[in-house]
């Protein structure tokens, strides 16, 4: 079992939960400011991730204009989608490509009734990139490390590391992906951090650090 920040999260609901999250987020933002990092936070979507200070963050509308974005499994504008690039000359088009600099994608989206009843732990890996389907279509997909099962109270998730060879403009990318779903199985939260295979190897420690900062609180039934 993995708990973000090494803390055992406790299911708290209502105003107490909101206050706790707000204080937690405020503290995290202050701490990240001191530590040379910046936070991607959505209070309404209950997610938090810490990125290096120099990374450029892009909104969903900026990402939507890129070609690589079309390859991702986002059919309608989700409640929360953001991208980020660690390139010294960043561009939204860097995100989800074989860039020499790491990038990140953060997503929170609801599941349809069909997705809800058919969602398995394995299926969490296919949320943004339909890995299973691409593999069956002959796209080279390689697992870089043993997938991990994550449990935090009523939340369940997976952490996987993949190498996938997609056609241009994406190319060959390596990425770590952490995905969570709630007990009701009506929502998923996802963080993907990656870049070219060479970059991924060189930057793996920084990438792991970003992934381990991803936090979605346990909210019981919700």
């Amino acid at each position: 079992m993995t708990f973000a920040w090494g803390l055992r999260a406790r299911a708290v609901t209502g105003p107490a939960w909101s206050l706790a999250l707000s204080l937690g987020v405020l503290l995290a933002v202050l701490l990240t400011a001191c530590a040379g990092t910046q936070a991607v936070v959505s209070g309404s979507q209950h997610l938090y991730v810490s990125l290096p200070a120099g990374w450029k963050i892009y909104s969903e509308s900026q990402l939507a204009q890129t070609q690589a974005f079309q390859a991702l499994g986002v059919s309608a504008p989700p409640p929360f989608l953001a991208g980020a690039s660690g390139s010294p000359r960043p561009h939204a088009a860097d995100v989800f490509t074989q860039s020499s600099y790491p990038w990140a994608v953060v997503l929170a989206e609801p599941l349809t009734a069909d997705q809800r009843s058919s969602m398995s732990l394995l299926g969490l890996n296919d949320i943004l990139v339909p890995v299973d389907q691409l593999s069956s279509e002959g796209i080279p997909v390689q697992t870089l490390s043993q997938p991990e099962l994550l449990v935090n109270g009523a939340m369940r998730g997976t952490l996987e590391s993949l190498e996938i060879g997609l056609p241009s403009p994406i190319g060959e990318v390596d990425y770590d992906q952490e995905t969570w779903s709630n007990s009701a199985t009506n929502k998923v939260w996802l963080l993907m951090v990656g870049c070219s295979p060479r970059c991924f190897q060189a930057q793996h420690s920084a990438i792991t650090h970003i992934v381990s900062s991803f936090y979605v609180p346990d909210r019981g039934n919700q």
Binding site: S117, S120, L121, L122, V151, A154, R156, N221
Partner: protein
């Protein structure tokens, strides 16, 4: 004298009132249900106190449970039941698994430990197939009729479903059953309760069976 008769009348009325109150209190103390379950496996359900809970030896003798097969599956790292109990409205229920399609209602609770593959692939939809292979029977062309809409359930860290089907296959005969099943967050354990009997019996005992299913509770949030 008149005063004495009035006093006796008052005493009689008081005694009757006391008797009625006592009877009411006693009937309230008498349970009409029996609790079945396991504290170690975190599950409970209620059955009418006229029902019988069968011993593991009886269930094993008559093919309801197979501890040897469960142990083998556990050793091989496959999904396997870690708890099974069966109750019925008649002792005849225990006489054979074939009585699942018989005229006496039964209830069967199970806790199943899932192996890695089942853990990775388990879905809310697949919970319906846990005891009776509904999907497979449908594909095989057996008659499968859904008796009520599938209800998805969420109880803290537990997620599950409640389904009711009538199946008519050569393998099982005609059975109507209702099932409630829960998965934990780690998706490594399933708690389920099935109740059923022949379609005619199921119809006749629907209210009782519905109450049994509604009483099913998994404590400890599946940890």
């Amino acid at each position: 004298m008149g005063h004495g008769r009035g006093s006796r009348g008052f005493m009689a009325a008081a005694l009757v009132t006391f008797a009625v109150v006592l009877a009411g209190l006693l009937s309230a103390c008498t349970t009409s249900v029996t609790y079945v379950g396991s504290s170690t496996q975190d599950l409970y359900f209620k059955i009418p106190n006229t029902w019988e809970v069968f011993s593991q030896a009886t269930l094993q003798e008559n093919g309801w449970i197979d501890p040897a097969a469960s142990s083998q599956a556990a050793l091989a790292g496959r999904s396997h039941p870690v708890f099974e109990t069966v109750a019925g409205a008649s002792s005849k229920v225990a006489s054979s698994v074939d009585t699942q399609s018989g005229p006496y209602p039964w209830a069967m609770a199970q806790v199943v430990a899932l192996d890695g593959e089942d853990q990775a692939n388990s879905t809310l939809a697949a919970l319906a197939d846990e005891d009776y292979p509904i999907d497979q029977l449908n594909q095989d062309g057996d008659r499968v009729q859904q008796l009520s809409p599938t209800r998805l359930l969420v109880d803290g860290a537990l997620r599950g479903s409640r389904v009711a089907y009538q199946i008519d296959s050569q393998q099982t005969g005609a059975i109507s059953f209702e099932q409630v099943a829960f998965l934990n967050s780690a998706t490594d354990k399933v708690w389920l309760l099935d109740v059923g009997c022949s379609p005619t019996c199921f119809q006749a005992h629907r209210a009782v069976l519905d109450r049994i299913v509604s009483s099913f509770i998994v404590t400890g949030q599946g940890r």
